[in-house]
Structure formats: C-alpha cells, structure tokens
C-alpha cells in the first residue's frame, strides 16, 4: 500500500491515483452473491440483449464500491471516508477496463477535522465518465 497521505499533502486540483479495474462476468456473479442483487440483467446475456443491451452490464453498486476502493486506497488506514455519492449515468460492460479517477475540489478545517472534498468518477475505454460522483474524507494532519 502507498504511504499515508496527510491533509498538508493535498491541494485543490490534485489528482487521486487511478484505480484500474477489469471486471469479469465472474466478478459480477460474485457481487450478486455478496450483495443479494440477483437481477438477471447482470448475468443473463439473453435477457440483457432482449432488453437492448449489448451484453450483461455492471451493477451500479459494484461501481460505487470500486469508487469506495479508489478512496480508501488513497486515504490509507488513518484517513476516514465520510460520504460517497454517485449516479449510474452510463452502462459498463464486463471485459472492458474501467478506470476509477478522482480530483480534490476543496479542503478545509471544520470542528478540528481536516476535511477534503473530491469529485470522483469511473471512466470507460472511450474516455466517457460513466459513474460521476463526489466523496468527502477526513485526513490526518501533520500539525
């Protein structure tokens, strides 16, 4: 894991290190089992194509969980994820690389906590943002 990031290390506009995911159909089935979301759209290609999709699609919440990992990988053991929001704007397909990205939008101290706000998103191979969102984290301070 990377070294601990501190509040003093970040500034507005800073990019969060990319997290690259390569979700497979097997991973979608694992997520279905772990989450109890057994909507066939995520593992039955016949159903997916009959509904007009090119293949089964990723669960929105799995993409939210990927964005959660993007943040926890970055903020380390001493950082705290407080809030994560995202919307599932475009569908993503298994077998395609999905890049999770983020950028710091604001930092401030409130009630003695060192708070950092970020915009976050997943990006498909075409460079389109498929799951835009935001995150709020608390980082440790060197002060």
């Amino acid at each position: 894991m990377a070294e601990q990031v501190f509040y003093e290390d970040v500034e507005e506009g800073l990019s969060i290190p990319d997290l690259i995911k390569n979700p497979s159909k097997r991973q979608l089935v694992k997520w279905a089992a772990a989450s109890g979301d057994f909507n066939e759209l995520h593992y039955d290609k016949d159903l997916a194509t009959s509904l007009g999709f090119p293949d089964v699609i990723l669960h929105g919440r799995l993409k939210a969980a990927f964005l959660g990992q993007l943040i926890t990988d970055w903020i380390g053991d001493r950082g705290n994820l407080r809030k994560l929001s995202c919307s599932y704007r475009r569908n993503d397909l298994p077998g395609q690389e999905l890049t999770c990205r983020g950028r710091v939008t604001r930092k401030y101290v409130q009630n003695a906590e060192h708070i950092v706000e970020c915009e976050i998103w997943t990006e498909n191979p075409q460079g389109e943002q498929t799951t835009p969102g935001t995150a709020i984290v608390v980082l440790p301070s060197r002060g």
């Binding site: 995911k21 989450s35 057994f38 919440r61 969980a65 959660g68």
Partner: protein, 140 residues
C-alpha cells in the same frame, strides 16, 4: 391515461413508511465475500468492512416497497448516496432499516419513468448509527 400519474394514492401513502429490516452478523466470511467481489486486496478488510459492504446492504428486495403496487416492471439502479459514521468491524451485529423516502416520476423517451428513493439506516449492536444510505431505483 396519457397524462395520468403512475403514482397511485396507495403508493403515495407508503412514502415515509418502513419497508424492511434486516440483521447482519458481520463475520469473516461476509467480509471476505465483499472484498473478493470488489477485488480489493487490502488486508484491512480482513477485520473491518470495506465501503462496498454498505453498498451491498438494503438490496435483495428488503428496501423495495411491495412490487405488486407498482405498474412498471423494468428496473434500473439510478444512483446512491452513503454516509459513514463509524467503522463496521468483524463481530458487529448491525441492523439495517429501510424506508421509502420519495416517489417521483418523469417523462422518458419511451414512456413514464418512476423514481423510487429508499433510505437505509444502519445501527450496530450498541445502538450507535454506523451508516446511512440513500438509493434511487428507476422503474420503466
């Protein structure tokens, strides 16, 4: 029917109502299943729930109002909003309570879209709130 609402009085009367409650005993197997499903190898998740754990809660119909009341049968997930208050650790017993927070409709390209917003509150065995989630599901 052309400009009729898909939200019936009966559906509207459910807004604010509790729609389900589920107790989860957080054990090693559950944590491993979530971490493996997300493909997140951080050893921290051997003992503690990763953020994705919260995203696995309140599905499997628990958060959903009675399906027979809803006229549109196709479902797609719209988005989510999660707040984390306290870590969830192995051995915790958490209770996830969902309620129907909001119903609204929009005109889509192929007809009506019904937005169903559910809210989940998650409390641990000490009665402490550990997390809150809000999810939007779209019926069409």
């Amino acid at each position: 029917m052309s400009n009729g609402s898909v939200i019936s009085e009966e559906m509207r009367s459910l807004i604010g109502m509790e729609t389900g409650q589920m107790v989860h005993e957080v054990d090693k197997t559950m944590l491993r299943q979530v971490a493996e499903a997300v493909d997140d190898p951080d050893p921290r998740w051997h003992e503690e729930a990763p953020p994705g754990f919260l995203m696995t809660l309140a599905v499997s119909g628990v958060g959903a109002p009675p399906a027979q009341l809803f006229p549109l049968t196709r479902v797609v997930d719209g988005g989510g909003d999660w707040e984390f208050y306290l870590p969830v650790k192995m051995g915790d017993v958490i209770t996830c309570t969902t309620r129907l927070a909001e119903l609204y409709e929009r005109e889509g390209k192929a007809g009506k879209l019904l937005f169903i917003v559910t809210e989940a509150t998650v409390v641990n065995q000490h009665g402490q709130p550990v997390a809150k989630g809000r999810a939007t599901v779209i019926n069409y």
